[in-house]
């Protein structure tokens, strides 16, 4: 590619597909591993169902009356998704789908468990509906997007849609201090959840198209190549965007996630370590300024620094304090499902604070298992980014894996007091339709990318350097 085409394009990919044992050809190497996936899915469903049974036995002494319905629902969901993968992405990574099913299943167990404490606020049913919708979308994405490179055509459309989605909540009334919801009828969703996938597609497309410019242009000062204004423009734009989100919607978490995502992808695309420094500085400055100016964000920071201060002041305990109490009482093996009191967290116990229930009832051992599952998901995403040879695919895989890692870190770090608390959904675990659906789409895209990666001849995997 030369300097004639600099921006993202909607035309055919500028880099021709490598000929030879191509993406659509029959697999030249290795088994498909669908059997492994099926077996792991079975394990995931069984683990979830046994969790569901444990809740009922602990709290009521009998198995929950709808255990069969739950088992059948989760099983059918897993089976259909497995069928779609077997049909159209037979060489996909066999770990991705079982991890998604297990996390989603455990999420349903935890929400069902908390439902037992809040008879007037039942969430597990609608979460199962959303999970089904998510799985349906997963199947749809796997069936329709047969080649991830098709997505490059929608780079502009993606960013336009993402921006629209993110601006929309400003016109809706704030919920608990944050304007991140859109409500109509009985439904509500967080558009930022969808926006993050669209943004990953946009970043991947934009950066893959402008790779040469980003890498090679710009003046050298003291041996360090500075980026040109043209390359820097989108960076500034995204930074402004994330700060805008923060100020207008008071959503520190999403802002952090977007910015982190962009910095990681920019770094991977250009290979310039300076981006990380610049990114961290800008993010730090932005967060500091907003932390000073926005009372909502400022309160979160104060609460993070002194989670027990409100108790000592006689003003009752903050949610963060209650969350910390829950984690602390879990110990190594936890109280067992159904035997904890994480419901004391109150508001958002099933969504933002769902991890506290896992921490209290499954203990550190259970949390470690969850983090390892997320770690595997992330690692598989990066591995697929390494194995792919087209820059767009590599960037997209990296971006999607980073989204999962960053989101887990931001919310899990928040509820455990590692970093200031920002409202975000724990991927797959937390109550929230938009979140669970989006995560299914992320896994669907990773399935597609990993299928492409494993179809390539091993010799070509490292071709693009």
């Amino acid at each position: 590619m030369t300097g004639t085409t600099t921006g993202p394009t909607t035309g055919p990919p500028p880099r021709p597909v490598t000929p030879g044992p191509g993406l659509r050809g029959p697999a030249a190497d290795g088994p498909s591993r669908r059997g492994t996936e099926f077996f792991l899915l079975l394990v995931a469903v069984l683990l979830s169902v046994s969790g569901y049974l444990t809740v009922g036995l602990t709290l009521h002494g009998t198995p929950p009356p709808d255990t069969l319905r739950y088992a059948a629902g989760l099983g059918a969901l897993a089976l259909l998704a497995h069928g779609a993968v077997r049909l159209t992405a037979p060489y996909a990574d066999p770990l991705l789908l079982p991890i998604a099913v297990l996390l989603n299943g455990m999420g349903l167990v935890l929400i069902h468990r908390l439902d037992q404490e809040t008879p007037h606020d039942q969430a597990a049913g609608s979460q199962l509906v959303w999970s089904t919708a998510g799985a349906a979308l997963f199947i749809l994405v796997v069936l329709l997007v047969r080649d991830h490179r098709v997505l490059r055509r929608y780079t502009f459309l993606s960013v336009a849609a993402a921006l629209t989605l993110m601006v929309l909540p400003v016109f809706f009334p704030p919920v608990n201090g944050a304007r991140i919801w859109i409500r109509f009828g009985g439904f509500s969703f967080q558009p930022a959840e969808f926006a993050k996938v669209l943004l990953a597609v946009f970043f991947a497309g934009h950066l893959a198209a402008g790779l040469a410019v980003l890498r090679d242009s710009g003046r050298k000062v003291w041996g360090v190549r500075l980026p040109t204004g043209r390359a820097l423009g989108p960076v500034a734009a995204v930074w402004l965007l994330s700060v805008g989100v923060l100020v207008l919607e008071r959503d520190l978490g999403t802002s952090l996630l977007f910015f982190g995502l962009f910095v990681v992808m920019l770094y991977v695309a250009t290979g310039w370590t300076g981006w990380i420094t610049v990114g961290l500085l800008l993010a730090g400055a932005g967060a500091w300024a907003v932390g000073r100016l926005e009372p909502h964000v400022h309160a979160r920071v104060t609460d993070w620094l002194h989670p027990l201060a409100s108790i000592e002041a006689g003003e009752g305990s903050s949610q963060l304090a209650q969350s910390l109490f829950a984690f602390a009482s879990g110990g190594l093996f936890g109280t067992g499902l159904g035997a904890g009191h994480s419901v004391l967290i109150g508001f958002a116990a099933k969504s933002d604070f769902i991890l506290a229930t896992a921490g209290e009832e499954l203990g550190w051992a259970g949390l470690a298992a969850l983090f390892v599952l997320y770690g595997l998901l992330v690692e598989r995403g990066f591995r697929c980014g390494l194995a792919l040879e087209d820059p767009f695919g590599r960037l997209l895989a990296t971006g999607l894996a980073s989204i999962v890692a960053l989101q887990v870190f931001v919310i899990a770090g928040g509820v455990t007091g590692l970093i200031p608390l920002t409202g975000m959904a724990m991927p797959f675990l937390a109550q929230g339709g938009s979140s669970v659906v989006t995560n299914w789409v992320i896994v669907a895209l990773l399935i597609r990318l990993s299928d492409s990666a494993r179809r390539q001849a091993p010799a070509l995997a490292e071709a693009d350097r």
């Binding site: 695309a269 984690f327 110990g331 550190w364 470690a368 992330v378 894996a401 887990v408 770090g413 350097r465």
Partner: protein, 485 residues
């Protein structure tokens, strides 16, 4: 690009590793500021998740538990709340615990390690034993007799089994129903407000937590000190006492309400309660001798627990002779709980040596296997056996033909001492009526009961309130109950 993806991947996995390390620190090395925080309700939830163990009187529970179905699930109930309130105390989800409910909380709430089937069992399983039972030494009949005897008048009764130190009755009046404080709701808060602000202080445990000037009832201690010190060798010999008695180093004169106290014998002075004689005897025994005698009886003991904490009864240790003279007739800074005065009577009845009073017979697990049995703590020699036998005779005289004839019981040997204690500025308050006594069935070897009654009734006319007139009949009823009549 490959290298960068790898680095980004490592960075992301490092973030997850940071979470693992942080949660390990949070969950496995938890600080006490989280587990013990007042806002962490888990401790309370676990505590009230099971019925509280029972407190037994005569082998029957006087407590219970009510399943509220709420977060703090079980609430304390009491079968005869006002009657046993000075024994049980309250166990409130909001206001903590008092008396036996506090002293035996480990057994009742199930945290006592002795309840577990194996050592460290609960620490390992993270569980909690079912609440254990606490058997008291209280006799229901004696307790009821005392409660009915006071009949709502302000006052208190303490009764002991003299030789063993078992507390047979602890009554404080007016009383309250501790069950009203059990829960967390507005009802409990309202009851707390009302009870803590009530003018007649129904939650004050007058039997062990309130001290009164013992007045003439203290003359038992002074007589014992005089006999032990050899100040008086023959109870029937004149004591060389003037009437009126001029307090040493002052112009003030002490007089008597009865005739014939000048140069009276110890027996006469005890029988008719001559202030002049005992004031003089106290001074002649001297400060050190009086303090030593009072402390042998249990005064100035700041650590007494039965196991409920008992307010210390006091006999001042630094006084001039005038103050010592007044202290020797139970005035000035001399103050005693009803339980302490019951111990004084018990020491005489038991022959000069006593065991510390105790309220708990033993504790068991919920299913009845023993956790702790109230073993006999050591005897304490209060006075010489000879002194005790003289005092027994003196106290019998008071009941047979003296100020305490209202306490006589047919078929039983009864000894007693009245007291009418002045108090208030310039002694203007309505006096407290005291009666301390003991009783032995004529058929029995050992005395069955020692009792102390105090009545402080501001409604009564000043002249009507007296140890013999107001308090002695209550003591008789209590002793009759203890003797099984």
């Amino acid at each position: 690009m490959t290298r960068c993806i790898r680095r980004a991947g490592v960075l992301c996995l490092l973030l997850l590793l940071a979470l693992l390390v942080h949660t390990a620190r949070l969950q496995l090395f938890t600080g006490a500021e989280l587990t013990d925080s007042s806002a962490n309700r888990r401790t309370a939830i676990t505590r009230y998740a099971q019925p509280r163990g029972e407190i037994l009187v005569d082998g029957r529970p006087v407590t219970g538990s009510r399943d509220t179905g709420e977060l703090l699930r079980y609430e304390r109930t009491y079968t005869d709340g006002p009657l046993y309130a000075p024994v049980t105390g309250y166990a409130s989800q909001q206001y903590g615990t008092t008396l036996l409910e506090a002293a035996e909380d480990g057994v009742l709430s199930g945290t006592d390690p002795g309840l577990a089937p194996l050592p460290l069992w609960n620490d390992l399983t993270g569980g909690r034993s079912p609440g254990g039972k606490v058997a008291t030494t209280i006799k229901a009949a004696v307790q009821k007799a005392a409660y009915e005897g006071l009949a709502g008048r302000k006052g208190a009764v303490a009764a002991l089994e003299p030789v063993s130190g078992r507390v047979l009755a602890l009554v404080s009046s007016p009383s309250y129903d501790p069950g009203r404080l059990s829960g967390t709701g507005p009802a409990a808060a309202g009851a707390w407000q009302q009870l803590t602000r009530a003018a007649d202080e129904p939650m004050l445990n007058r039997a062990i937590r309130q001290t009164y000037p013992p007045g003439s009832a203290f003359k038992v201690v002074t007589a014992a000190a005089a006999l032990d010190a050899g100040t008086v060798t023959d109870p029937d010999a004149p004591t060389r006492s003037p009437d009126p008695y001029t307090l040493p180093g002052s112009e003030k004169q002490l007089s008597n309400e009865v005739e014939g106290c000048a140069d009276a014998s110890l027996r006469y002075a005890f029988q008719w309660s001559c202030n002049t004689v005992f004031a003089g005897l106290g001074v002649r025994v001297g400060l050190d001798g009086m303090v030593a005698a009072a402390e042998r009886f249990g005064f100035n003991d700041r650590g007494l627990r039965i196991p409920s904490r008992v307010a210390p009864s006091t006999f001042a240790t630094g006084m001039d002779e005038a103050q010592l003279a007044l202290s020797s007739i139970g005035q000035y800074d001399t103050r005693a709980t009803p339980l302490q005065m019951a111990s004084v009577a018990a020491a005489v009845a038991a022959g000069g040596s006593v065991r510390p009073p105790r309220l708990v017979e033993g504790t068991t697990t919920g299913s009845g296997s023993p956790v702790w049995t109230g073993g006999p703590p050591g005897y304490r020699q209060v006075m010489n056996p000879g002194t005790a036998s003289v005092l027994r005779q003196l106290m019998r005289d008071v009941v047979e033909d003296g100020t305490g004839t209202n306490a006589a019981i047919e078929g039983a040997e009864v000894g007693g001492k009245t007291g009418t204690a002045q108090h208030g500025v310039g002694n203007a308050g309505v006096p407290y009526a005291w009666f301390i006594s003991w009783a032995r069935d004529e058929e029995a070897i050992e005395p069955a009961v020692a009792v102390a009654v105090v009545v402080e009734d501001e409604e009564a006319r000043r002249e009507a309130i007296s140890g013999g007139g107001t308090a002695a009949p209550i003591a008789r009823a209590v002793m009759e109950a203890a003797l099984g009549r």
